[in-house]
Amino acid sequence: MLLSQNVSAIGPLNLYPMVHISLVFGISYVAPVLSDEHCTLKMRFRNFQSVLSWELKNHSIVPTHYTLWYTIMSKREDMKVVKDCINVTRSFCDLTDVWVNTTDMYIPQVVGFRENAKLVICMGSFFLVPDKPLDPPEFEIVGFTNHISVNVKFQFDSPGILSEELQFYLAFIEEHAGNSVKRHQPQITGNITKNFNYVIDKLIPNTNYCISVYFEPKDPRKINRSPLKCTLFRPRRESESSESATIGGIITLFLITAVFISTVMILKRIGYICLRNDFPKVLNFYKLSVWVFAELPPLEKVATVEVIHVNRKKKVWNYNYDDENDIENEAAPHLISGGYTKHGLTGKLCPTSTTSPSLEDCSLEDCSEPSAEEPYLPEPKGDAETPMAPGPGLWQSEGTSGGYQTRGTLWQDPTSEEDSDSTEGSEGRIVFNVNLNSVCVRALEDDKDSEVTLMSPSCPEETVELEDLNETESSVLVASEEGTQLPFTNPSTECPRPQDAPSDKSDTSDPDVDMGDGYIVRQVNLKKFN
């Protein structure tokens, strides 16, 4: 019953307030009261991030959710709802991507609901002016050989406001070097990405540089600088150059040493340096006496030969074979094979033996013409060895030993370089030493040829086979290696002068006798000669 009375009491009388209330709510919803008395709106514009927050003044009325609208002052536009802030339970809203015009004034409206009923409406007006200086951007510094690179990183999520405002909020780079501070203003143009690079050059070597980056605030008194990042500027090029110079020097030194060592080794190998000191005994010159007094080479055993030069006209053969004496007497020197020069010994050896019938036969033929000078018969020298070597000029030999006195003439070698005139200057006499070892003695094959050529025993080719000689009839012309001594006839024995003997007669019979030990014996029938 009581419930019915209450209901009846409530009925029309109670309906009035309900209607009133509903009307009030209705009016308030349709025409919201533009007043911020219910809540306090705050705008945080930091690092280009716009966050609108609200706080209720009356905590007795707590909406369950909120919705945000906004409009601008520059145009007559209706309220626009923020899509990300519809029926949100939080008391803030991120408007970074919504509010991008920094010159305009924004009029936000926050409506608090409880279920579907509006509890509070809050409005305000804001410029996008940073309440605090922009936070400095992050950056990295890298030192190079001649500059420092500063890489500034913008961590802004709003590209729209970034491109516009970054041009306005220029970033500055401060360069701290010691007590000096230098400010750099990088040029930021165009669409800016999230970071950009700035190069600081013209730096002092070996100086510590500290870099700080910040955005230029509107109020110069409120600069929010970043922490300093320092680096020691050390031109690496110099250090690198010094290091490279050191390395280069070491390599160069190594190469020089290697080349030097290899050169020394090569020279030693080829024997140019560091010669062997184990010389043969013959090369031991440690005896000072040897150095000082050089030992003379042993003298060669020579024999003294006196050469008598006889000038004789050149005979031109007139194609007359009648003149045999000229042919016989001539002993044209001709070369012996082997490089020896052969000189004919004209004349005949006189036998020493009186029993020899050839005493008259044995004579030295005068090889010269009647107009020529008479041959000169030098006296044999005692100590003279028998000259056997062919020499220039004409020489006559006279043997005193043995049984024969030998005289001979040696025609001058036409190939000799000596001029006949020179011999004339020496009065027709040439004396020279003849090494018997260097001459050959050889007897000519032709019996008529009375010439006796001397050959050295070293030329066996020239050795002529000799026949057995009759010692009694032959004169011996002995040539030995050790020394040659012509057998000389007794001084008492006179050899017939060749003038008395017919020149065209050759009475020589020269049986050759081989002595058996390399000597060549020639038996010559001597003719009388003057």
């Binding site: 409009t71 002052m73 010159t103 004034m105 041009q167 306005f168 220029l170 110069p220």
Partner: protein, 215 residues
């Protein structure tokens, strides 16, 4: 023998004289135009922002689009002269608006005075710098005329026509504001709307100074 008060008076006189010279030198330092403009504009902007506590929401319905010209600096040559003349025109017009006697009494009077003084100083500074620049241009023009005497040379289009177009847009803009005030009979909402709009204009010109720094 110079007494102490006489000495102080003498030195004070010298200091004031020097201060005047320094002030005069600094004031006429048109090379630091960018810095000066940025500083004065920012100060005025801050003053307009703090002149009133908050924008009355009830005046939101009476707002109007005054169409601030965004392309008064579309021509880049000569940019510096262009910006100086634009600043001069803006300062002159704003000064005219804020010197009307019908300003709101609810506003902080001291803040309004400061805005008026700042705009006045900025005007004087810009006038002197523009006169100096004009004298230099005349000397240059005379030299060029002497060099090209006897030849018909077409005068290169200076920035004046372009600048006139920019200044004309600014003048029209501020005329719209002035007309709005008169139409609204200098009501509270009208003044609030004008305050917000001029503050927006100052902020736009503040960005122009960044162009001077970059170039």
């Amino acid at each position: 023998m110079i007494t102490k008060p006489d000495g102080i008076r003498k030195y004070v006189w010298l200091a004031c004289l020097m201060g005047l010279f320094i002030t005069g030198i600094l004031s006429l330092d048109c090379n630091s135009l960018n810095v000066r403009l940025r500083r004065v504009t920012w100060q005025n902007l801050q003053l307009l922002s703090t002149m009133s506590n908050s924008f009355p929401i009830e005046c939101l319905q009476e707002r109007k689009a005054f169409e601030l010209p965004q392309e008064i600096l579309s021509y880049t040559q000569p940019l510096q002269k262009n910006i100086k003349e634009a600043f001069y025109e803006m300062s002159k017009q704003a000064f005219h608006i804020f010197t009307q006697d019908t300003f709101q009494s609810t506003w902080e009077e001291k803040h309004l005075r400061q805005v008026q003084i700042g705009l006045d100083h900025q005007l004087q500074y810009l006038e002197q710098c523009l006169e100096e620049e004009e004298e230099e241009n005349e000397d240059t023009r005379e030299r060029e005329e002497l060099l090209s005497a006897g030849e018909e040379t077409l005068r290169k289009p200076s920035g004046a026509p372009v600048l006139q177009l920019g200044n004309l847009d600014l003048r029209r803009y501020f005329n719209r504001i002035d007309r709005f005030l008169k139409d609204k009979k200098h009501s509270h909402c009208a003044w609030e709307i004008v305050r917000v709009e001029i503050r927006r204009c100052f902020y736009f010109f503040q960005k122009l100074t960044a162009l001077l720094r970059r170039r």
